[in-house]
Amino acid sequence: MSDYRISHIAALEAEAIFIFREVAATCQRPVLLFSGGKDSIVMLHLAQKAFAPAPIPFPVMHVDTGQNFAEVIDYRDRRVAEAGVQLIVASVQDAIDRGMVTEPPDGTRNRIQTPVLLEAAEKYQFDALFGGARRDEEKARAKERVFSFRDDFGQWDPKNQRPELWNLYNGRVHPGEQIRVFPLSNWTELDVWRYIGSEDIPLPEVYFSAEREVVDRGGMLYAVNEFIKPREGEETFFEKVRYRTVGDANLTAGVRSDATTIDEIIAEVEVTRITERGATRGDDKTSEAAMEDRKREGYF
């Protein structure tokens, strides 16, 4: 310790904690997006560390598509209770029932999350929304700021971003505008797993490998569940799979894996050759600029 060096994970943690505190100190009504996915789990953990021994000074919000893995929702509720934070649920199903959004014919609710998110932000007057996105996930994300400005319509303008120098983040907004804040910007998938391991953070079971009944769709293995039933002509089989990312239960595919512990997952991630979104997310495959287009509309 006397050489005053710290590991890069400790440096990333210090940076994230700085960002959480900066928002709490300068923004009026921040909120942390929390889905029970591993990145948002790390976010909640970091937020607790940033303000300890005081509680987290802002609520958490889940934009709930209604197409979740049941145990992830259980985990969400348990974790929120432990942390003693207020949970706001913005329901996509409710928005469909009210006619605010229309469910796409293919049943994927990823894109219609955005208006629900924006409506909730307006209702609660949130001016800063924390998200767990990382720059290593996707090319458009690689250019997004840590403090990312959104206009009255929640839109991201990639060509007109605020320059971000040193650690001087500009979180100023007018009423109705927002800042999306990404404390994990500089983390990679491997960093997140290593941090989960070193901090002993519990995860929902879907992240660990188990024998699951799956169908093969275009090379991706989807576990049969409430939302995924074998279609005509599809055969199900049993395979040891785990989830690298957890999105909607009807969209997220598993990867073949024997990893049943964090250490085994880290070992697998270290040698993997495919990005986590490429391997498991049906929703990113649409076009070369799919993510940029969704972000422009206000998506995280």
């Binding site: 710290i6 943690e13 100190a25 458009a140």
Partner: protein, 425 residues
């Protein structure tokens, strides 16, 4: 508690470096080569790039497509914005701030350099130093990037000729002595062929230095931090209103510089009151000492009025407390220039103040370093020396002594955009 910081399995050091140059210099190829050879590139990323490249009829896979992420960038074949890339080797983890090189993107270069430990500048061996190379070197020295690497690229196209390399190296070294470049390394490479990028080249036995990656892994950065001047900008006051922690009052922040220990006498600026550090808290327990870049919570022995924007330092080594600020400013706004008598918001450490431009002393031509003393404003991507008067004192140091307490940003009060970056001189 200090144990948990070192016992984490992964003790890689973090090196942030900025790359400057245009597509013509082979910068994207070089980054692609680093990512590819260090296995940081995933198969699906490679497949996507290969497919786009083949679809456009490129003769070879265009590695620039890896970094040019925005639709308009791909359409125009140019890099507009700073892109961040990540890779690691068994030695270190790297964050690359990849910045475009053209003069209209000076602000992006300044942004990327502001947090960099090292700047990597590329020149084409066939063309030698060009205006752009000098501009990049100047900006990196202005932003006090502690280490600079000049890569003389495309050595394969000059038959790996030592004389060509030496000529460029000498010319650049002569130019660099006029700047403040604490550490300069010059490496002959071929990004396309892989010479001296990851592995030492057999084509240039006359070059005794390290490969680029080896240099990035080994360059000594631990002593770049200022561990002498204690500067702790208070970010947030932590006061839990619970019965367990009723008396807890802690000052949260990230150590900007210096080393703090419990028992140390500290002075609170701007009030000038002194106290001692009672403890340095983290969620994992108290620390024996705190140093940059740790985020901690400091408790003092005495109850003082301390709030966000204040700074802890040592009574015998204080930051400057001043409302009259001399600074080099890089202007970043395309809509309106910086104007004499203009009023702006300024963010410096954790403090927000307002400022008026009292004087524009000169505008600097960043290619020739000529000073235009007739200037009264600074346009987009222009750099000049200005005098500011702030509404409240800044607790600051010269940027050359302290990058954390010497830099500030300028914000347009009407639309809240960040319009300038300042370096206190």
């Amino acid at each position: 508690m200090t144990d948990t910081l070192t016992s984490r399995e992964d003790t890689h050091e973090l090196l942030r470096f900025a790359t400057a140059g245009s597509v013509d210099d082979g910068k994207s190829t070089l980054i692609g080569r680093l990512l590819f050879d260090s296995k940081a590139l995933f198969d699906d990323q490679w497949d996507a790039v290969e497919a786009v490249s083949a679809g456009r009829g490129d003769e070879y896979t265009d590695l620039a497509l890896l970094t040019d992420g925005l639709r308009s960038e791909r359409e125009q074949g140019i890099t507009i914005d700073v892109a961040y890339r990540y890779f690691s080797t068994p030695e270190r983890k790297f964050i690359i701030a990849d910045t475009p090189g053209h003069i209209q993107y000076t602000r992006n270069m300044v942004t990327g350099a502001s947090t960099a430990d090292l700047a990597l500048i590329l020149v084409d061996a066939r063309k030698g130093l060009v205006e752009q190379s000098r501009r990049h070197a100047f900006l990196c020295s202005l932003l006090r990037v502690p280490h600079m690497v000049l890569c003389v690229n495309k050595m394969d196209l000059v038959d790996y000729d030592e004389a060509v390399f030496k000529r460029i190296e000498n010319e650049f070294s002569a130019f660099a002595t006029k700047l403040e470049v604490p550490d300069l390394t010059v490496i002959p490479v071929s990004a396309l062929k892989g010479d001296n990028v990851v592995n030492r080249s057999e084509n240039m036995p006359w070059f005794q230095g390290p490969s680029l990656l080896h240099h990035l892994e080994k360059v000594h950065i631990a002593s770049d931090r200022n561990l002498v001047d204690v500067r702790f900008p208070v970010q947030h006051v932590i006061r839990p209103h619970s019965s367990d922690n009723h008396d807890f009052r802690g000052y949260a922040g990230q150590v900007a510089s210096g080393v703090m220990k419990p028992g140390d006498e500290v002075m609170v600026l701007p009030s000038g009151f002194t106290s001692r550090i009672a403890s340095i808290e983290t969620a994992d327990g108290p620390l024996e000492e705190a140093f940059p870049p740790l985020s901690v919570t400091v408790r003092l022995e005495d109850e003082l009025d301390v709030s966000r924007g204040d700074m802890l330092c040592r009574p015998g080594n204080q930051a400057r407390v001043s409302q009259d600020i001399e600074a080099m400013v890089c202007w970043m706004d395309e809509a309106r220039p910086l104007k004499l008598r203009g009023k702006y918001a300024v963010k410096h450490t954790t403090s927000d103040v307002r400022a008026i431009v009292k004087d524009v002393q000169y505008q600097l031509d960043i290619n020739t370093l000529h000073r235009d003393e007739t200037a009264t404003e600074l346009g987009l991507n222009e750099i000049g020396r200005v005098t500011l008067r702030t509404t409240k004192p800044l607790l600051c140091d010269d940027y050359r002594r302290n990058r954390s307490t010497g830099g500030f940003i300028i914000i347009d009060e009407a639309d809240n955009r960040t319009v300038g970056a300042g370096i206190i001189v």
